[in-house]
């Protein structure tokens, strides 16, 4: 198991940055955040402030439907509502947000292709061979996935699972 950690340095003094923490939303980089509330706050005997916040998010809406024009295909429509207002250069930020959403949507589609491929491999194994055990199905499916996926996506680096 790996836990992701990171350290980052802001070139600003601590008292400035910590104020920004409380005022983080709204900002153009997180359009999905639609609400934030402090639901508890206290100062302990040593002067340490503890805050509990509730964040409300609205993501995109995805609709999968049989493709109206292409047989054996599926049309995916995605909608995300972006509201950027009250700041200068709002068109620049709207563009920035759009690009961010596009990039994430692309990752989402790659993820779907990955999983679809996995399903196809499993189906293929089931229909082609007499499978002796569930383990054999998994091993063969995994082999199918790495061969198929690497062949179709030369830019995707498939790492062996742990």
């Amino acid at each position: 198991m790996k836990i992701w950690t990171s350290e980052h340095t802001f070139s600003h003094p601590w008292h400035t940055v910590v104020q920004a923490v409380w005022r983080k939303y709204p900002n153009p980089m997180n359009p999905a955040v639609v609400g934030i509330d402090v639901i508890d706050r206290d100062i302990g005997p040593t002067g340490v402030m503890r805050t509990h916040r509730l964040i409300s998010c609205e993501w995109e809406r995805l609709t999968y439907s049989p493709h109206p024009n292409q047989p054996n295909s599926t049309l995916l429509k995605q909608e995300a509502v972006i509201t950027v207002h009250g700041i200068p250069l709002s068109s620049y930020f709207e563009d920035f947000v759009s690009r961010n959403i596009s990039s994430n949507a692309n990752k989402g589609r790659q993820a779907m292709e990955f999983v679809i491929n996995k399903i196809n491999c499993e189906v293929q194994e089931l229909t082609q061979k007499t499978v002796k055990s569930v383990d054999e199905l998994t091993v063969n499916a995994k082999r199918c996935i790495s061969d198929e996926f690497v062949a179709k996506s030369p830019n995707y680096h498939f790492q062996g699972s742990k």
């Binding site: 409380w22 402090v38 639901i39 964040i55 409300s56």
Partner: protein, 93 residues
């Protein structure tokens, strides 16, 4: 203090109370707390109470249980029960 973009509360009716509290808090935080003078200053307490009551009421009305995410369901009685069908877009942060 500069004018802030308004960020909504989970309770629509709480927006104004939230705005008032946060304006007070941001000022107190920068001018008092960060200078080590915050301890006995309770100037925002009243606004905080009003805002909090409103939020707790909204959480009840929307049937949001903020501690749901911390609860251990597997291996307990709750495991066999169907989850509530309401889509929950809020999570503790």
């Amino acid at each position: 203090m500069t004018a802030e973009d308004i960020m909504n509360s989970i309770g629509k009716d709480c927006n104004e109370l939230k705005r008032q509290y946060e304006e007070c808090f941001n000022g107190w935080f920068a001018d008092k707390y960060l200078r080590g003078l915050g301890g006995n200053d309770h100037s925002c307490d009243h606004l905080f109470k009003l805002y909090q009551n409103c939020v707790k009421k909204a959480l009840n009305e929307q049937k949001i249980d903020i501690w749901e995410i911390d609860r251990n369901v597997l291996g307990s009685d709750g495991e066999a029960k169907e989850p509530s069908s309401k889509p929950n877009t809020a999570k503790p942060s």
